[in-house]
């Protein structure tokens, strides 16, 4: 691209870390080996800076991120992904990340995946202001300002701009890998900007998730564990307005009939206690949930009476809708901010229809993971991860079914592993 066009496109872009010149030089920056020692040190310093930042401590999502980028945890990742086989692995070059506009810390995870794998990164930061973004950016700026990491400065370019296609065009043309968060609509929009022929793309599309709870197992938890379960479930759902791709929209209950009712009563009661204390309710959410309940009832309740039951609720912060059968298209009627479909599940294979949907992403569970095995091995087309309740938001280099380590690196085959043909 011509220098002039490039400068024009960049006119409306603000740089939170890095600058315009970095973008111009990006194609010339050397690709690094994954988990390069210098990179791990740099991230570790960012982590330390965050851990000692008083403001950062107010934000659990920032603290969790700081924890994840410590050297010790990065080394664990290295252990899992790195192989000594004589081949040479390098970052693919430049990664262009489009972060979701409403999850504050997500961009930092995406950036870190790019850094750990040895790429130079251009990250489009949400236009909406979040204190978490300021805190993390401050830490990166501070650490990169030091002479020690001068060489790594061009690898971190954090930008903020509106929806200008010209800018998307420019960054996409520079990218060896493009990572699009933000769902189907964002993907469709960004795809209007072409990639280079050899460039790859990782897209995080609209997904839904569910939780499976073994009633007996839950009831056997002690007081503290039950409180912990409520907090874990709260973090999986309300913390992101139950609107992350990982947030369960349906809770399936396993176990004997009597126990299921008992477990439900206690589980929701404890959750409600937390929600009433912590969740900031917005007036329209009540109307939205009423709307969703009516729609579910009208769409599914016409043939069979009691196919859909809106459970009595204390208030609109927590609304549960029981479905007698898992119906086709149920997830198109999902809502957020504390709106749960609920299903009494006699046999885990009753969930097969839901999990056969490629939109189905995470199953979180309370109980024994073994109970899910017949389902997971039944040939389903969906489901990318199975985690305990409370872990749905834990980021990993394998995410949403993609191995980001593989996607962000390339191999120079030098290990002599081939066969003469």
């Amino acid at each position: 691209m011509l220098e002039k066009d490039m400068m024009e496109a960049l006119a409306g872009v603000s740089f939170l870390v890095g600058n315009k010149e970095t973008v111009g030089r990006i194609p010339d920056i050397p690709a690094l080996e994954p988990f390069a020692a210098e990179m791990l040190d740099m991230l570790n310093d960012v982590s330390r800076s965050l851990m000692t930042d008083r403001e950062a401590k107010q934000y659990p999502d920032v603290v969790t991120y700081a924890f994840w980028i410590r050297k010790s945890s990065a080394l664990k990742l290295k252990e899992r992904f790195h192989r000594e086989d004589g081949d040479i692995r390098l970052g693919r070059g430049t990664a262009f990340h489009i972060a979701p506009s409403n999850v504050p810390v997500n961009y930092a995870y995406s950036l870190t995946a790019g850094l750990l794998t040895g790429n130079a990164n251009i990250v489009r930061i949400p236009t909406k202001e979040f204190p978490q973004v300021d805190i993390i950016n401050r830490a990166f700026r501070e650490v990169l300002a030091g002479e020690r990491y001068a060489r790594l400065r061009p690898y971190v370019c954090l930008v903020r701009y509106g929806r200008e296609k010209a800018v998307n065009d420019l960054f996409s043309a520079l990218a060896d890998t493009r990572i699009i968060w933000g769902g189907d609509d964002t993907i469709a929009e960004i795809r209007k900007s072409p990639l280079a022929p050899r460039a790859g793309e990782v897209t995080f599309a609209d997904r839904f998730s569910l939780a499976v709870i073994d009633a007996g197992n839950y009831l056997d938890l002690d007081e503290r564990e039950k409180e912990r379960a409520a907090e874990d479930f709260y973090n999986d759902t309300y913390l992101t307005d139950q609107n992350a791709c990982t947030s369960p929209r349906l809770v399936a209950w396993m176990g004997e009939n009597g126990r299921v009712e008992e477990a439900k009563a206690e589980f929701w009661q404890r959750l409600y206690g937390l929600v009433a204390r912590k969740y900031v309710f917005q007036p329209i959410q009540g109307v939205n949930k009423l709307m969703s309940s009516c729609l579910a009832a009208a769409v599914y309740g016409m043939e069979t009476a009691s196919a859909v039951i809106v459970e009595p609720h204390t208030d609109n912060r927590l609304v549960r809708v029981k479905v007698q059968r898992i119906l086709d298209g149920l997830m198109e009627l999902k809502d957020n901010s504390g709106y749960f479909f609920e299903y009494d599940c006699a046999d885990v294979l009753e969930l097969k229809g839901l999990c056969d949907d490629k939109h189905c992403q995470t199953i979180s569970y309370i109980g024994n993971r073994e109970m899910l095995m017949p389902l997971l091995t039944s040939g389903i087309r969906g489901v990318d991860r199975v985690v305990q309740v409370g872990k749905t938001m834990d980021f990993d280099l394998i995410w949403d079914g993609y191995n980001l380590y593989e996607r962000l690196t390339r191999v120079i085959a030098a290990g002599g592993g081939g066969v003469t043909v």
């Binding site: 979701p100 506009s101 409403n102 999850v103 504050p104 997500n106 929806r163 968060w181 933000g182 769902g183 189907d184 609509d185 964002t186 469709a188 929009e189 995080f204 609209d206 997904r207 992101t240 307005d241 609107n243 992350a244 791709c245 990982t246 947030s247 309710f281 917005q282 007036p283 329209i284 959410q285 009540g286 109307v287 939205n288 009423l290 709307m291 309940s293 009516c294 729609l295 579910a296 009832a297 009208a298 599914y300 309740g301 016409m302 009476a305 009691s306 859909v308 039951i309 809106v310 009595p312 204390t314 208030d315 609109n316 912060r317 809708v321 957020n336 901010s337």
Partner: protein, 363 residues
């Protein structure tokens, strides 16, 4: 209870006890009627565990969110009996409400509106100036809210003109002629709040600078449609009033609150600036958190009930507007029933989550 009997009662004559008795009986009947004849409505009541036996007052009846009429086609009569389909005025690309009217409901809407409006304007018909363009009412089978409003109010006009042409330009000559012809008589003016401001008031101000003025001191302006579009202009209802008065002498100005989902039962603003519920309908302010009823002077989401809807299950609806109940039976204007004000629309939720609304914001 037969609606014709209700229609015989003067619209602001019942106190809260009498009105509650009347509304409870009629609205319970309507609930049963729609439960029998509208399968979606039956399913919704079933899912909510609605129990007819537990209803003590119409305030206990379930309500549907108005938005539901945008997602579903809800009818309690066979398609053959539908004589009119009304639509809300959504901006292009947005879903619009579809309201199905049979002959009875449509006729009752008309009758009710006459009763309500006559209470403010007197029962004789007047020369009428419609502050809009004629093309809004072209298709007589599909009615937009704007078209329906104009047609609804047109029955109060003995002679009518449209003050705007299809390019929304004020027909200065036509208006001058009309006013000259009916000089000395009361004149009814009707339009949508935003249109009145944008295409009438502003034009009058401009004309005044050129030395052209109109005397509308014998005019009665009825306007509705909400203040949302005027928010950008920072015009308050008070300012709207005195500025119009200043430019053309208009002094009798009545805002009204109403919606296409309950056409006919409009809430007219009295001389004291209060919106009034007639005996044909009511407002119940609800707390967003649990939908319990708000007290007087407490802001809540407006639920509206109406005795009219027989062809569609729209007799009890939760709007997305917020309002404040100011009092009941004791407005200084002398009208009985509840009086209130509308505060505005509920804000869209700001929610977190992975999926953006990127495309929607993209130009």
């Amino acid at each position: 209870m037969i609606l014709d009997d209700i229609l015989q009662i003067p619209p602001y004559s019942l106190n809260h006890r009498e009105k509650e008795r009347l509304l409870t009986e009629r609205l319970m009947e309507l609930t049963e009627r729609h439960r029998e004849n509208c399968p979606e409505y039956r399913a919704i009541l079933g899912a909510m565990g609605y129990d007819h036996g537990k209803v003590r007052t119409y305030k206990d009846l379930p309500f549907l969110p108005v938005r539901l009429f945008k997602e579903l086609s809800l009818r309690s009569v066979p398609q053959e009996e539908v004589v009119k389909t009304m639509t809300s005025s959504g901006t292009s690309g947005q879903a619009v409400s579809k309201i199905y009217l049979d002959r009875t409901t449509s006729a009752n809407q008309q009758k009710t509106m006459v009763k309500i409006v006559s209470d403010f304007t007197g029962s004789s018909r007047m020369p009428m100036v419609i502050l809009d363009c004629p093309s809004v009412v072209k298709d007589r089978r599909m009615f937009s809210a704007r078209g329906a409003g104009i047609l609804g109010f047109s029955i109060f006009g003995a002679k009518r003109i449209y003050a705007l042409d299809d390019d929304m330009k004020l027909d200065v000559e036509g208006l001058a002629e009309f006013l000259e012809k009916y000089k000395g008589q009361d004149i009814l003016l009707f339009g949508f709040t935003f249109m009145v401001w944008q295409h009438f008031y502003k034009e009058l101000v401009r004309l005044k600078e050129d030395g052209i003025t109109f005397d509308l001191s014998r005019g009665i302006l009825i306007h509705g449609g909400g203040w949302k579009k005027l928010a950008g202009e920072a015009v308050s209802p008070e300012e709207f009033h005195w500025r119009l008065n200043d430019v053309c002498g208009l002094d009798r100005i009545h805002d009204y609150y109403g919606m296409v989902e309950q056409t006919g039962c409009i809430y007219m603003q009295c001389e004291y600036g209060h919106l009034h519920a007639s005996i044909f309908s009511d407002v119940i302010m609800r707390r967003p958190l649990d939908f319990s009823e708000c007290g007087t002077d407490e802001q809540g989401i407006i639920q509206v009930v109406s005795v009219l809807p027989e062809s569609y299950p729209g007799h009890s609806l939760l709007t997305e507007d917020e309002g404040i109940l100011l009092g009941e039976d004791d407005c200084p204007c002398g009208r009985r029933g509840r009086y209130f004000k509308v505060v505005g629309r509920l804000k869209d939720a700001e929610i977190r989550g992975c999926s953006d609304t990127y495309a929607a914001k993209f130009r």
